[in-house]
């Protein structure tokens, strides 16, 4: 006597297995969707913009004449912006992380600061633009200069740096600092000589990712007010400036009027993406090369 009817089991199983396989294919296709869009986007930008990139485009000044327009001013603007964002976010971000992880008394105050940082990370970037406009441009009377834009973007990406630095500091094993205390070092000496050097690769990786977010950001700068056609190059943090994303924005919306502007926008996108790619590669190299596991 047979207890199990093999045929019946087979019949019941096969439809379930077919369903499983069909949906597995569907899931794989869904995963590919994002990647396909990415490929289309990059191919599209390359085919439109690559032909417009030459030395004159990189080193030239802005112009309403599409054939003569160059983006050196926007590249310099982005670099000056980085010169503000890097020191401000590093100092504020690392100091906050050290305070929260190593100094703050565990309790309400620490919890409040921590929750506050999580909330700040969710505030839309355009709201930071209004903060920058009200505080840095108007109240402090900086005007729409590099410093105002840089400080605004620094506040925007600060939560990213703080969280990354906190994680890096937390990953430094306790026994390293205990050994330092055992040798008679004070707390600050331990932080300065033991914890920070060990956490540095993680901190830098986070800082670079935050920086690449900042230089790709457009919305807060549109609020601060960046001139559409700024011909002189910025020479310091108190000069008016434009950056690559702003130039892409103006050229894209004006491509309705002058068709060639779309190609200029695409060419600028290529330069911007290349810069972001280099920054991210540096972050990956730091992470792989210097990150020690204890």
């Amino acid at each position: 006597m047979k207890y199990i009817d093999q045929e019946q089991v087979q019949n019941k199983m096969s439809s379930r297995l077919i369903k499983n396989n069909i949906l597995k294919t569907l899931f794989a296709l869904a995963t590919m969707f994002g990647i396909v869009v990415l490929v289309i986007l990059i191919v599209r930008v390359l085919t439109q913009g690559l032909a417009w990139i030459d030395m004159d485009f990189i080193t030239g000044k802005l112009s309403t004449n599409a054939d003569r327009a160059g983006i050196m001013g926007a590249i310099l603007g982005t670099l000056w912006l980085m010169a503000v964002v890097i020191p401000v976010t590093l100092v504020l971000g690392v100091a906050t992380a050290i305070y929260l992880e190593l100094y703050a008394p565990k309790g309400k105050l620490q919890a409040i600061i921590q929750t506050n940082i999580a909330n700040l990370a969710g505030v839309p970037s355009i709201v930071y633009g209004l903060l920058g406009l009200t505080v840095f441009v108007r109240a402090m009377e900086f005007g729409n200069v590099v410093l105002a834009g840089g400080l605004t973007l620094s506040l925007l990406v600060l939560p990213i740096v703080i969280v990354a630095a906190q994680e890096a500091i937390r990953a430094v094993p306790q026994h390293l600092s205990e050994a330092s205390f055992g040798m008679g070092a004070t707390k600050w000496q331990t932080v300065k000589n033991i914890v920070l050097p060990a956490a540095l690769p993680g901190i830098l990786t986070g800082a670079i990712l935050a920086l690449s977010r900042a230089i790709g950001e457009t919305a807060p700068l549109t609020v601060i007010g960046i001139p559409a056609l700024l011909i002189p190059f910025p020479e310091g943090i108190f000069d008016s400036f434009t950056v690559m994303p702003m130039q892409i924005y103006y050229w894209t919306i004006d491509s309705v009027l002058v068709e060639e502007y779309a190609y200029l926008a695409a060419a600028t996108i290529i330069v911007l993406l290349l810069m972001l790619f280099i920054l991210n590669s540096i972050a990956v190299i730091i992470r792989n090369k210097f990150q020690r596991r204890y």
């Binding site: 906050t96 839309p124 007010g225």
Partner: protein, 316 residues
Amino acid sequence: MAPNGNLNKESSIRDLIDQKKQKRSISNFSERSIPVVLFLFAAVSILTTIGILYTLLSETISFFQEISIVDFFTGTVLKPLSQNPEFGVLPLINGTIISSLIAMLVAGPIGIMTAVYLSEYATDKVRRILKPILEVLAGIPTIVYGFFAFTFVTPVLENIIPSLGATNILSPGIVMGVMIIPMIASLSEDAMTSVPNAMREGALALGATKLETTFRVVIPAALSGIIASFVLGISRAIGETMIVTIASGSSKNFTFDVTQSMQTMTAYIVEVSGGEAPAGSTIYYSLYAVAMTLFVFTLIMNLLARYISRKFREEY
């Protein structure tokens, strides 16, 4: 000579002790002052929040002294630049909700299917290749997506829907969805991978297929994380600016027709502040009232996401 030498030695030891004391008092001082300095730096993040709230609130209050708060939130007409300006925020809220809905219709299903594939079906090797590529998608600046929506997606959609306007809400909505896919996929995947393997093995041992295991065991167990990722995705879509500013134009239509141009709250802020509204005018204050509304929308979404993922988390 001998006593003299002793004296010398004594005084030099005393000197050393004094020096040591001085050093210690300096290092004591820095040990005590450093936490204070660090706290001052940490306070900047608190000051940022206070700054945001203060600027938004004070200017919003000025706005509501000129325009009644009821008219603002119930008005369906927004004509800030006309002779008799009208400030109804509903067209902007409508545009924001519709664009976010379109984005979530794209990002929700595709994001969760991607998460299921990566966490349940893909081999380690495939996952290690696919995940970084999806992260690239998340790292592309939104202005690039805006360019893509305006110069590529809209013309392509025009072939399918001939009545589509050159600026419309559909195309930026879809592109915004693509932008949010990686976020939903990676947060949902984290939630699914944290479901213990013993539970999967239990279901598989009972004869369930992988699909049944996924839908009856893994997804229910990870549901709080998945829903939280959806809510965060919505919040991201509400706050997104450049894609809608470029591709959806600036008509303040109050309509539900997705082939038409609509303005979102974020795009209104860009339009008005870019036009350099004179400080002190009603239209300038309207900027802050709209920003305040936007801020409250995203804040509620973020708090909701945190509440869901904390309250309904299944602990194993």
